[in-house]
Each structure stands twice: as C-alpha cells, then as structure tokens.
C-alpha cells in the first residue's frame, strides 16, 4: 500500500490514456480507409491530451518536481500502472476497435462518476475529459455493432477479439486497497457500482452485435500494480526511445 493513493490513482488513469493513445496512434497512416484513419488519430490525440492532465496532476501532488513528460518517458515498466487491456497489441482493425470499446465502456462511466469526486482537481480533469470519452464510446459502440452484426468474416474477427480481450477487463472493475481507500474518501467511485454499469452496457451492446461474452474465463490482473504482459516492454522501448537515447532532448 502506498502512502499517496491519490498519486497512484492519477498515474493509473494517466497511464491508461497514455498506453492506449500510443497503441492507437500506431494506426496513423495504416487504417483501412482515410476517414477511419483520421478518426483513430483523433482518438489517440484525445487520449494523449488527457494523459497530460492526469500525469501533470500526478507530478504536482507527488511533489518531487516530475513533469507529465518525465513520468511518461522516464519511468520503467514496473512503474506503469495501466490496465493490461490497453497494452494489448493492435492486431487487426476489428481487434483494435474491440479493445477500444471495452475501454471506452469503462472509461466513460468512470469519468462521469469522477465529476463528483471530493478532490476538485480530479473532478475538473474528469469534467474536461468526459465529452471526448462520450464520443469515443459512441463511435466504438457503433462500429462494434456494425462489425459484430456484419459479414461472416467481420463477426468471426470480432468474436475472436472479444474472446482474447475479455480476460483483461476484470481488473478495471475489481477494487484493490487503493481503490477502497479512495472510495471511502469519495475521491473515486465505488467500483462495484461501476462494474454493474459496465456489465449492463456491454451486455446490451454485444446483444445487438450478436457477440457472446466468454463464460467462466479467468480474469488476468497485474497492470494496476505494475506487472505487465510481454508486449508491454516493446511498446515502452519504442515510446521512450528518443528520451532514453538522447536524454533531455527537445525541439
């Protein structure tokens, strides 16, 4: 248990946005059509913008003079606290959208609840981010339904993606000591309430998308505490390469 749970929470929120933003930005120039390419790049930029708010806030309350950039580019793997879901590789377009949907469906109600946080700085960041998250959720919901209930091939790919990614959703809605402490102080919402919202929403969407949630799947965990999957090291190496190779470089 850390002595600064609010710092930990801000880092988790910021790292979720940063790592997903990094993953999604890799699509820039590679999406199946121009319109989706721009839409994905927009989403990535929104997420990186939110990262600056969360990690900037984290750096301030930590009080060691670390900026958002320092936290993003100069931490090692174990110090990143994003959920395992957002670091999963892109694979195909459908897989990327499924990952986005599973994140957005959690992110939007989370930010909505955080608008009522007893910590006014957190409430302000949530207020600013929630509109972007609402659009992300609209978009990924729409596309998951279209592709799930689309052609035989698109349905198969979406179902495969859901089967692969589902195991990484558990930790987003499972509280640990930090979540419980902050929940008691009304800094963050009760994750059991969020879990119910999350599951109601995705069940209704998957119903329309004719997709089936895997039953009795083992839920992975570890991202929140800094234990990441294999692909994470490569992501970090690419993201941090410039600052690691040329410390302090700027333009």
């Amino acid at each position: 248990m850390t002595d600064n749970p609010t710092f930990e929470f801000a880092v988790r929120m910021g790292d979720n946005c940063l790592i997903l933003g990094q993953r999604v930005s890799a699509w820039c120039g590679h999406a199946p059509i121009l319109e989706e390419d721009i839409a994905l790049a927009n989403t990535a930029l929104d997420l990186i913008g939110q990262t600056k708010l969360w990690l900037g806030f984290a750096g301030e309350i930590e009080g060691k003079g670390r900026s958002a950039d320092d936290l993003a580019f100069l931490r090692d793997g174990r110090e990143f606290k994003n959920g395992l879901l957002v670091e999963q590789p892109n694979h195909d377009f459908g897989h990327t959208l499924m990952r986005q949907f599973l994140f957005d469906a959690w992110h939007h109600p989370m930010l909505t609840a955080l608008k009522a946080s007893s910590d006014t700085r957190i409430a302000e960041i949530a207020e600013k981010s929630v509109k972007e998250a609402a659009y992300h959720l609209d978009r990924s919901t729409d596309l998951v339904i279209r592709l799930g209930d689309g052609s035989e091939e698109s349905h198969r790919r979406m179902q495969d993606s859901l089967d692969t990614l589902w195991q990484y959703t558990g930790e987003l809605v499972t509280p640990d000591a930090i979540d419980s402490t902050l929940g008691e102080q009304k800094v963050t919402p009760d994750l059991s309430v969020l879990k119910a919202q999350y599951s109601d929403y995705i069940i209704s969407v998957f119903d329309e998308a004719t997709l089936t949630i895997p039953t009795n799947a083992y839920m992975q965990k570890g991202g929140k505490t800094g234990l990441h999957s294999e692909a994470f090291g490569l992501l970090l190496a690419e993201m941090q390469h410039l600052q690691r190779a040329y410390p302090g470089v700027s333009w």
Binding site: P32, I33, L34, E35, E36, I38, A39, N42, Y135, D138, R139, D142, R146
Partner: protein
C-alpha cells in the same frame, strides 16, 4: 473497400446565425457513419456547430454546358443588386 461506400457531401455550419457551407466530401456506408466521419474529418479544429451530410448522388446539379442560358442573362442587370440603398448600421450582417 472505400470504393464500395457511397460518396457524401458535407455541409458545416460554423456558428449560430450563419448558413451551412459545403466543406468537402467523404465515403461512408450510411448517413449515421457519414455524420461521424464528417465530425472526425472536418470539425477537428472547432469549425462547426452543425453538420449536414447528403449523398452526392442525391444532388441534382446544373449542367456546365447550360452556363450561358442560365447565368449570362443576369450579367447586365446591375439594378438587381440592392446597391442603391443605404443600409442602416443597426441592421448588421445582411
């Protein structure tokens, strides 16, 4: 893939009180996605408060070869421009 999707013309209203203006076109499978695409492609820099999309095929256009009969007769009729009136300042944008 984009070849299978119809073309849509996009109209954006910049702010309240102005009319929608044609800003460009895009591909989308239906109207709902055309609006989403228009939002992503054409309003990234805070350009709009309202979006219209119209299937390009649903627009009936005048033929370029008809240019003469359609437009030339208006050329010499300056009296059709309301330039002979003084517009009071309070009226604002016309």
């Amino acid at each position: 893939m984009s070849n299978e999707w119809p073309l849509w013309e996009v109209f954006i209203r910049g702010r309240h009180g102005l009319s929608h203006r044609h800003v460009g076109s895009l591909h989308a499978p239906d109207a709902e996605m055309a609006v989403n695409h228009a939002r992503d492609v054409y309003t990234r820099r805070n350009e709009g408060v309202s979006i219209w999309v119209v299937k390009a095929g649903d627009i009936t256009a005048s033929a370029p070869s008809e240019k003469g009969p359609l437009f030339e007769p208006a050329n010499t009729k300056v009296y059709r421009h309301p330039t002979f009136f003084d517009i009071p300042d309070e009226v604002g944008r016309m």
